[in-house]
Symmetry: C2
Subunit: 283 residues, 2 copies
């Protein structure tokens, strides 16, 4: 079985898929739509794409593609804590505080704002296309005494030495991925921390209180939401749809009953998936 993921290699997405599917084959794709198309067209059996707080790839593209373009169910979710490390070429490891420049992805640089602002004040940094690309640049130019901000996998992949661990500002930041597949998959190798069910809901008209009415259908059944997000429809400003994550597996009564009621009220409801949720800790 083959897993497609958003590349390049040594990114957080690769970290996630290697932990959850250690025994499978992997194929990196260059964009989220290409990766999702690959599973729709059966070039791969599984696709793993970012859906929250991703460094690589726009989360909105994932949601928009899943809701507007393709019919492929979500069969799992992976959450990994974001941990950024400072790394240098092994020959510069004693002298790392005197690096001349720091390379990373622009979001990773922003995530390490306090560290760079206090401990590396005045040292220039440069955004490159991914944290893995930053690691490669540092490996390729040892004489320049540069550093990269990247994850553990990038340090291993490119042979860099981590000189300062966990330099990100917020400890509880995480990145979230969806596993997409047209077939049933057994996740025996990882332990789940629970189930989620994701629905896409469009409102009958943009009137005050319509969303409140929708949420009533969940609330009186005590269906807990772990996420709600409004996104503009691709049909113009002013029309919205909502992505709602419920903290339970699809059952025979409560969720189908809610969907039926919402449809009777004129809402559009699309079940994007009901799936186990995994947390992968990197240490």
């Amino acid at each position: 079985m083959k897993v497609g993921y958003l590349g390049p290699k040594a990114t957080f997405t690769e970290l996630a898929v290697k932990r959850v599917f250690p025994e499978l084959e992997f194929e990196p794709y260059r964009t989220i739509p290409e990766c999702i198309d690959a599973v729709v067209e059966k070039q791969v059996e599984l696709a793993v794409v970012p859906v929250e707080n991703a460094l690589e790839g726009s989360v909105n593209i994932t949601l928009d593609y899943l809701t507007h373009e393709v019919e492929i169910p979500i069969i799992g979710e992976i959450t990994i804590p974001i941990r950024q490390h400072l790394m240098v070429h092994p020959s510069n490891k004693e002298d790392w505080q005197n690096v001349s420049k720091v390379y990373s992805h622009s979001h990773a640089i922003a995530q390490c704002h306090k560290f760079l602002h206090t401990q590396f004040k005045g040292i220039p940094f440069e955004s490159v296309s991914s944290t893995a690309a930053a690691a490669q640049m540092v490996m390729d130019q040892p004489e320049m005494k540069t550093a990269a901000i990247a994850n553990e996998l990038a340090a291993n992949e490119y042979g860099l030495t981590i000189v300062q661990r966990d330099i990100h500002d917020f400890d509880y930041n995480h990145t979230r991925f969806l596993i997409l597949s047209g077939q049933k998959v057994d996740f025996l190798s990882v332990s789940s921390r629970g189930y989620k069910t994701t629905l896409m809901i469009t409102l009958p008209s943009n009137h005050p209180g319509a969303l409140h009415q929708v949420l009533s259908a969940f609330a009186w059944r005590k269906l807990n939401m772990s996420k709600i997000e409004s996104r503009p429809m691709k049909t113009g400003i002013g029309n919205y749809f909502f992505i709602i994550d419920l903290e339970m597996e699809l059952d025979d009564v409560l969720i189908p009953g809610t969907i039926a009621e919402l449809e009777a009220l004129g809402c559009g409801v699309k079940l994007l998936g009901s799936y186990p949720s995994f947390i992968v800790d990197l240490n």
Copy 2:
């Protein structure tokens, strides 16, 4: 008066600030936290940062920084439609269909998935750190016959010729920016399409229906929401806060009454700003 914005030059953010503040001075910043810090520390009077669908900069960093790190009000919002064009070096404009490679930011490449998949099938593309950097690369290597996907400003700034307009997949995609400032600013030069008020709300405890109760306070007053988004608190998984945009200016009765009720129920409510909203059309 000086406006700080998220660089580099010739990005959508620069497009936005130049349209709304044509007569002011500009200063690009390298990250969103640096740009917000600049207005807090009064190096600039205004800061413009992306908050939705941005190519450059993580929207989550903007929301997290505004809600957790600083106290600076939102004083305006700018929405611009996303329009991506294919551009080449002027010397290659007759032969643009035979380019050897396409450069752009990874999100822009994903936004033009259908165009690349159908009209440029098989031609390799490469992600670089911004659409402006892509335009610069194409300008610097005319003999390589490369193309960039970028906006109109980048074509002008780097002297490229647009050979195919509006190659993005979705016509109604837009990107949204917030204007932050500690002082009152007059937006006489642009016409507003209305007002918004943005609130950050934390729930008393993560129990089913708490959000529904919060929304009830808005719904019975017929306060229309244009956006709702849940975000994890930086204190660990399982705690959420909500960002709610109301489609009205802060009044003396309805919004203050809602806030007082929510606080009485044990919610935390922070008013992030009440501000005019502008749409900038690029043609």
